[in-house]
């Protein structure tokens, strides 16, 4: 294809003036790019925040918390403590450890005859910094460890962290296992929010060493819907791409309305290659504006939505869709006969 003499820098200058110049026809598309970029970021951020909140709420109710114990109360089983605690830190597992009832205990000044349980520090990591955990509903909150009398001994206590309600940390005293506790009735495994329970159950069970009778694992909360799957399959996930296509249509229409202007370039000696380059640069300036707007909105929203990466990536997807679709719908103008283009007004 024939080339002309256009210098690259001057072609860029031409594209900038055609898009951002005073009174440019493309300014309406630039405004659309700003709105689409920021709107897409806000929408994605809002959706992400909603699903995270839902996951947190369900996690507090026991979602993705697995409890392994004997299949039947008539056939008790013992799970080796070391095999249970070794699960902590594995891929997809937040914490794991044994958990057993431990009768009642007097902890002064918290109260007398309080329900007690023993749990691994790998299950409740805050146990590593104190002798016992005090349930949040048993005493007023203390910011730092405090001294209590447990039975006849002085002990340091901290309030239990936020754990699923059915694990009992909220309304009881939680003690670490005794050195001689080599086995336990229950092993509790807390998976991360994105792990699949059906896949994890057999994999975890296979790693536990069990004596006497067989065990089975159940999830503390069996939710009827999975928020992660719902999030991944929501129709709204296509909105940024849809906005990209909408922007592409607007861009292509605006470029086509400028056919007689493109004729001016062609009849002035500009080659089809340079016209293609010019149109590509103009489109990139517009979609770059959309991506920049998406990034700016993501950063502005970051303090409220924690992670700006997701809306930013969707902003890039929007800009990419916009660029490819707009150019596919408009680049044919560059190779049309200039005298025909001149008649398209």
């Amino acid at each position: 294809m024939r080339r002309d003499g256009w210098r690259s820098g001057l072609l860029v200058r031409e594209a900038v003036r055609n898009v951002f110049g005073r009174g440019s026809r493309m300014l309406a598309v630039v405004a659309l790019a700003v709105l689409a970029g920021a709107g897409s970021s806000a929408f994605v951020a809002l959706e992400t925040r909603t699903v995270r909140q839902e996951i947190q709420d369900l996690a507090a109710d026991g979602r993705n918390v697995l409890v392994f114990a004997a299949v039947s109360d008539d056939a008790p089983a013992r799970i080796e403590r070391a095999s249970c605690e070794a699960l902590a830190g594995q891929h997809g597992i937040l914490s794991a450890g044994i958990l057993e009832p431990a009768g009642e205990i007097d902890v002064m000044p918290v109260g007398t005859r309080l329900p007690a349980q023993r749990a691994s520090t790998t299950l409740f990591p805050e146990l590593a910094g104190a002798d016992l955990l005090v349930g949040r509903s048993l005493s007023d909150r203390a910011a730092r460890p405090f001294v209590v009398r447990a039975g006849q001994d002085l002990a340091t206590a901290v309030h239990a962290g936020s754990h699923p309600e059915d694990l009992g940390t909220g309304a009881s005293i939680t003690l670490p296992p005794r050195p001689g506790d080599a086995t336990a009735e229950q092993c509790v495994v807390i998976l991360d929010a994105f792990s699949d329970v059906d896949t994890a159950l057999p994999a975890v069970a296979a790693q536990l060493k069990v004596t006497r009778n067989p065990i089975s694992g159940t999830e503390l909360l069996s939710a009827t819907n999975d928020p992660v799957t719902d999030y991944l399959q929501r129709p709204g996930r296509w909105l940024p791409l849809l906005l990209g296509l909408l922007g592409a249509v607007a861009t292509a229409i605006t470029i086509r309305l400028r056919a007689s202007e493109i004729a001016v370039y062609r009849m002035s000696g500009t080659s089809p290659v340079s016209v293609m380059t010019l149109l590509t640069l103009e489109t990139l300036l517009i979609t770059g504006t959309a991506a920049l707007s998406a990034a700016a909105a993501s950063l502005a929203l970051a303090p409220r939505y924690l992670d700006p990466a997701v809306p930013m990536l969707w902003g890039l997807a929007l800009a990419g869709t916009w660029t490819v679709a707009a150019l596919a719908a408009a680049l044919d103008l560059a190779v049309r006969r200039p005298s025909d283009l001149a008649k398209d007004r």
């Binding site: 031409e14 005073r22 009174g23 007689s260 001016v264 370039y265 009849m267 005298s339």
Partner: protein, 215 residues
């Protein structure tokens, strides 16, 4: 400035079963204005496109020569400036920008392109409107902008397709005078129905409408 002579030899253009013209031959002398006349549909615009290299011939050839004794070369869009029918312009850009495009496309740096554009606009009498937005101009002024663009391009062959269409008599005469002045710089072929432009031309080439082909 150099200009070229153009010879069209036994040329034909067909679109499917439709023949636009066939067996056509003509000579367009160097550094002259030649009027290309004929009824609508006779193929004037198609012939201009063929002379510029934008349209392939079905038969025959177009030959460009720098002088009568030099070897012929085929049509080449990079040697041709085209003045379209109507008022094509970058409407939201200044008159200067509209004209500077041509030297920029030829590889001139920005400063030189502006100098050549300014000079060309002076030649066509628009020196006072350099920074006016093109969409604010009248049809006649836009036609002169197109001529200035052709002049600023420095091309040896200017092909004008009905440059006086929709212009009043005064503007048509002005265009005719400008075309005459441009012959010092280029060979000019004007497709036109306008008797004023025909009368002002140095030569006239007639085309007739083909009767063969599909309806």
């Amino acid at each position: 400035m150099k200009s070229v002579q153009v010879d069209v030899v036994d040329a034909a253009v067909r679109f499917g079963a439709t023949t636009v013209f066939s067996g056509f031959g003509a000579h367009f002398p160097s550094a002259r204005v030649t009027a290309l006349v004929g009824p609508s549909g006779s193929g004037k615009s198609t012939l201009l496109a063929a002379m510029s290299g934008y349209q392939s011939l079905s038969a025959g050839r177009v030959e460009l020569r720098d002088d009568p004794d030099s070897p012929p070369s085929p049509p080449d869009p990079t040697r041709v400036a085209w003045v379209p029918q109507g008022s094509n312009a970058l409407g939201r850009r200044s008159v200067l920008d509209n004209v500077a495009i041509a030297p920029l496309a030829a590889g001139a740096p920005l400063g030189e392109a502006h100098e050549r554009a300014t000079e060309a606009l002076e030649v066509v009498g628009l020196g006072a409107l350099l920074h006016q937005q093109a969409r604010r101009l009248s049809g006649g002024e836009l036609q002169r902008v197109a001529l200035a663009r052709a002049l600023a391009s420095g091309k040896e062959l200017i092909l004008a397709d009905e440059p006086s269409a929709n212009l009043d008599a005064a503007n048509t005469e002005l265009i005719a005078r400008i075309l005459d002045r441009l012959t010092t710089r280029a060979t000019i072929v004007v497709a036109t129905h306008d008797p004023v432009l025909v009368a002002a031309s140095d030569a006239t080439v007639h085309m007739r409408r083909e009767v063969s082909g599909a309806a």
